[in-house]
């Protein structure tokens, strides 16, 4: 019997597959399509203290094997997430990873403290890597010292384990990973989007109203995989890997490179059933490769 179970700080996952933050809302829409209890976990949309309307539209643009987005952390705000979205998710047997965003350290602390007390929130994912907001977001994720301090501050108040979401838009992602480890992070999630741009062919105007956007989808997978591999070489922190995952083979790649679990973002838009489909295919795929559990497979690329 193939064992898909994965144990991570705060998270007892039936399987290693979860939708990535921002690509699954608060689960409501996808719950019309399939039973969310099938998922390993759910990473909900970034939550900020106040309601945010996000950026002007257009907010998405297609690129070769990828897409750009500049949603700008639109979300109903902490109170609505606590009062409506999280309670609605309680009906499913699935741990929630709450994605926390903000402009100042105080914002992060406020959201982290409150949201970590929700019964079904089993871990936090601290979004220090959103490229689409003018303040906060990515600046926290590109300087090791700031990242370390923010991690400390959030750890101090959180009642559940804290995962830090790393930005790929850095010279040395390992130094950021090390810094958040020093700050007390329980795990890392990576990668957020690569900063990119598309122009309208006729006018030369940026297609995305925010001018630049975050690149995601299959195009970024080689970069994401390389970063997971590098970070795994230098730390034992659990890693939830993501970036361009679209099928079961991609999942195997991330696990091989050292991720302990895998999130699926953009691919949900292409195939809304992609997560349960991958979960269904994992046992056979593991078996074909000669493994009996996810944990056996994790990091195999480092053991060759």
């Amino acid at each position: 019997m193939t064992n898909l179970n994965v144990q991570l700080p705060g998270l007892n996952l039936k399987n290693p597959i979860m939708p990535a933050s921002g690509c699954f809302g608060f689960g409501k829409e996808y719950s019309q399509l399939y039973d969310l209890s099938a998922l390993g976990a759910i990473m909900i949309k970034a939550t900020t203290v106040e309601t945010r309307l996000g950026n002007p539209t257009p907010r998405v643009a297609e690129t070769a094997s990828g897409m750009l987005n500049a949603i700008g952390l639109q979300n109903p705000g902490l109170q609505k997430v606590l009062g409506e979205e999280l309670p609605r998710l309680e009906q499913y047997d699935v741990p929630i990873i709450a994605n926390v965003a903000g402009t100042t350290t105080e914002d992060y602390v406020e959201v982290a403290k409150a949201i970590s007390e929700s019964p079904n929130v089993h871990a936090l994912e601290i979004n220090i890597s959103c490229p689409n907001v003018k303040q906060g977001g990515i600046t926290f994720g590109t300087d090791p010292d700031i990242a370390r301090e923010l991690t400390r501050a959030v750890k101090d108040v959180s009642s559940v384990p804290v995962y830090i979401k790393l930005s790929p838009n850095v010279t040395d992602i390992v130094s950021i990973a090390k810094a958040v480890e020093e700050g007390g992070a329980d795990g890392i999630t990576m990668i957020n989007t690569l900063l990119g741009m598309r122009l309208d062919a006729k006018t030369g105007r940026p297609v995305i109203a925010n001018i630049t956007g975050g690149l995601s989808g299959p195009a970024v997978k080689p970069v994401a995989l390389r970063m997971v591999y590098e970070v795994r070489k230098q730390t034992d922190l659990p890693i939830i890997g993501m970036g361009g995952v679209a099928d079961v083979k991609d999942v195997i790649d991330f696990l091989s490179a050292g991720a302990n679990a895998v999130a699926v973002g953009t691919a949900n838009f292409v195939n809304p059933f992609v997560c349960p489909e991958i979960i269904g295919q994992l046992p056979e795929r593991l078996h074909e490769l000669g493994y009996e559990s996810i944990e056996e497979l994790v990091g195999r690329s480092h053991r060759l």
Binding site: L33, V60, N69, Q74, F269, V270, P272
Partner: protein, 255 residues
Amino acid sequence: MIKQERMVVTNQQEIAHHIFELTVQGELTGEMKAPGQFVHVRVADSFEPLLRRPISVASIDFESNQFTMIYRAEGRGTTLLSEKKAGDTVDILGPLGNGFPVEQAKQKAYLIGGGIGVPPLYELAKELNAKGIETVHILGFESKGAVFYEDKFRALGDTHIATVDGSHGTQGFVTHILNELPKDFDTYYSCGPTPMLEAVQWAYPEKQGFLSYEQRMGCGIGACFACVCRTTKSETDYIKVCSDGPVFPAGVVIS
């Protein structure tokens, strides 16, 4: 219920310059609730192009489990879609969104469409006529070569055509025709480019109207927040075109 289905192409033909009529068959058809709903079409099995394309349902045949889309092959995705032939399959997600409220019309309705906003009005016209509502169709196109379904609309009611270059019907925009027409209708329905929707709202501030909006989409089902618009309700209120719309009552959406 929203389904994802590999539907079978039963017919595809170019019915005007770069305008294709694509008919597909499958169970998803049975889920359709109202004219004006749309589907999200995966144009290739590859991840390039990556995103689905939103296309409106132009007519439904519940008996044979088929529905028809009409679209302009312009960019990369729609061009690929136009290469599908009868017998091929297409991955379709739908039906999505809320359509035009047919029950809101009382006796006479104006259906005002522009370009590739015209297609959903055809199923709408059929359904309104089936309920005994008189429909008048005011349709705008770029030029004569881009006009489609004129006869089909005529068969359902009075039909006026405008072309930007004057090569067919009235020269100019649909608003030029609206100015000439009586205001003896109770409800209007409109679909087309946003500036046209604006102009139509301006033309009939006192009438009940329903407008179908467009936005760039990611998921198409309400999860990604790509397709939002603010509303007139409050500073912090917004709608998602994909799941709250694409059809909204006049006066709601700030575009």
